[in-house]
Symmetry: C2
Subunit: 241 residues, 2 copies
């Protein structure tokens, strides 16, 4: 049985006492069956990972005691994922997978063919937290509000290379490696089912900081495309090198 990992907002440090909220208490004591003295790992995105033990249990709360740091604070590569929200479960999966794959910021974007009018940011954030706990990260990616793609492009910092998955390039040999620079800021953009509109394609094509890439000869669903594109980015420019 793997050690339980828990994301908390509280500061972590030697001898630090960490209070639990109701959800955390339910998860640790109800679901994971930890009792007094039970071991776990804590992280908060700032202080590294800490070994801790259960000091007090309760139905609506409890307290953990921080024992020793077991990993320094890490950080994902400077990689953003821009994605058009799709159906609920698939959007949840995109957030989960992007967290495992080590994206630093997750930005839901409204495109011409996006159906979603809004995203449940709290729900998606919870998926990101759970994925971070599971995959061994010491951070949780930052989740943005839904913004129109056009507005995001208007204010784009041009030093950040934007790679967009282009369905029209289906079948072109993979050209990802030539488009990214190891260690440099990057972003990957995945369109909705139905792809980008002609107007969006026209604009993306004129942008010096953006490049279209092929994701093989088949048309991938948005969640598959997100994992595949993040894999290639991490391989060529990120922390899989």
């Amino acid at each position: 049985m793997a050690t339980v990992r828990l994301y908390v907002e509280h500061p972590l440090g030697s001898g630090q006492s960490v209070p639990l909220n109701r959800d955390q208490a339910h998860y640790l004591f109800g679901v994971m069956r930890l009792g007094p003295g039970g071991d776990l790992i804590l992280f908060n995105g700032r202080d590294g990972a800490w070994r801790a033990e259960v000091a007090e249990t309760g139905k609506r709360g409890g307290t953990l005691a921080c024992l020793a740091q077991v990993a320094p604070q890490g950080a994902p590569p400077d990689l953003w994922l821009l994605f058009a929200p799709v159906k609920k479960t698939r959007t949840d999966f995109i957030v989960e997978k992007a967290t495992e794959m080590g994206a630093r910021r997750l930005l839901p974007v409204q495109t011409d063919f996006t159906n979603a009018e809004r995203v449940r940011r709290d729900r998606l954030q919870a998926h990101a937290v759970e994925a971070a706990e599971q995959c061994g990260a010491t951070w949780v990616p930052e989740l943005g509000d839904l913004v129109p793609l056009s507005r995001l492009l208007d204010g784009w910092e041009t030093t950040r290379r934007l790679i967009w998955a282009d369905e029209a390039r289906a079948g072109v040999a993979s050209d990802f490696g030539a488009q990214v620079t190891p260690g440099a800021p990057g972003a990957v953009l995945i369109g909705p089912e139905g792809g980008f509109s002609p107007a969006e394609r026209a604009r993306l094509t004129t942008l010096d900081f953006a490049a279209p890439v092929s994701l093989g000869p088949r048309i991938l669903r948005a969640d598959t495309a997100a994992v595949a594109a993040l894999t290639l980015w991490q391989l060529h420019a990120g922390d899989w090198r």
Copy 2:
């Protein structure tokens, strides 16, 4: 609106009439709202892709008329995915994603830490069919019955290179490309949540035809690992080159 694509078992050819079963009739006429004369694409894994139109509609059946071939019969690279079945939805996702990613055979394997005793092969096959229809393939991958990993390894054709995702290599630089040969038969093995047992690791390590690879510094869920590993295989040895 993209053209509807439908997988059928029936032979396809010029002037060929194709009968529909109840499920297909419900999908085409009920869900996709096609009426008489409506256009669609058919494939059966043997005769390429054909443009067809609705000849007769009905609640429990109907008939399509094959008009003209629009794509030759394709084939995925000689790539197998071996995966330990996990929870229901995630297993469905593995099958869907492996189809989009272009695996030719999908083999559920029983490992020491696999929880599933059986898999619903008809259910998984339906997911593979739907994914093939959606991604533009002209074939559907072959889905095997659940077999013990040890038995599969006993009868392994040693010319097929087996790449296994090794959690113990988390953080090692990506070494996938060095382990595969473009155009040669290959297979990717993804373990269950909890990884491989010490006995399985020991055996895999002794096999000349098998090689462990790293999938980055984080622990990926089985479905994420499947997409990432298939991406790397297709990039280095398959039809993404």
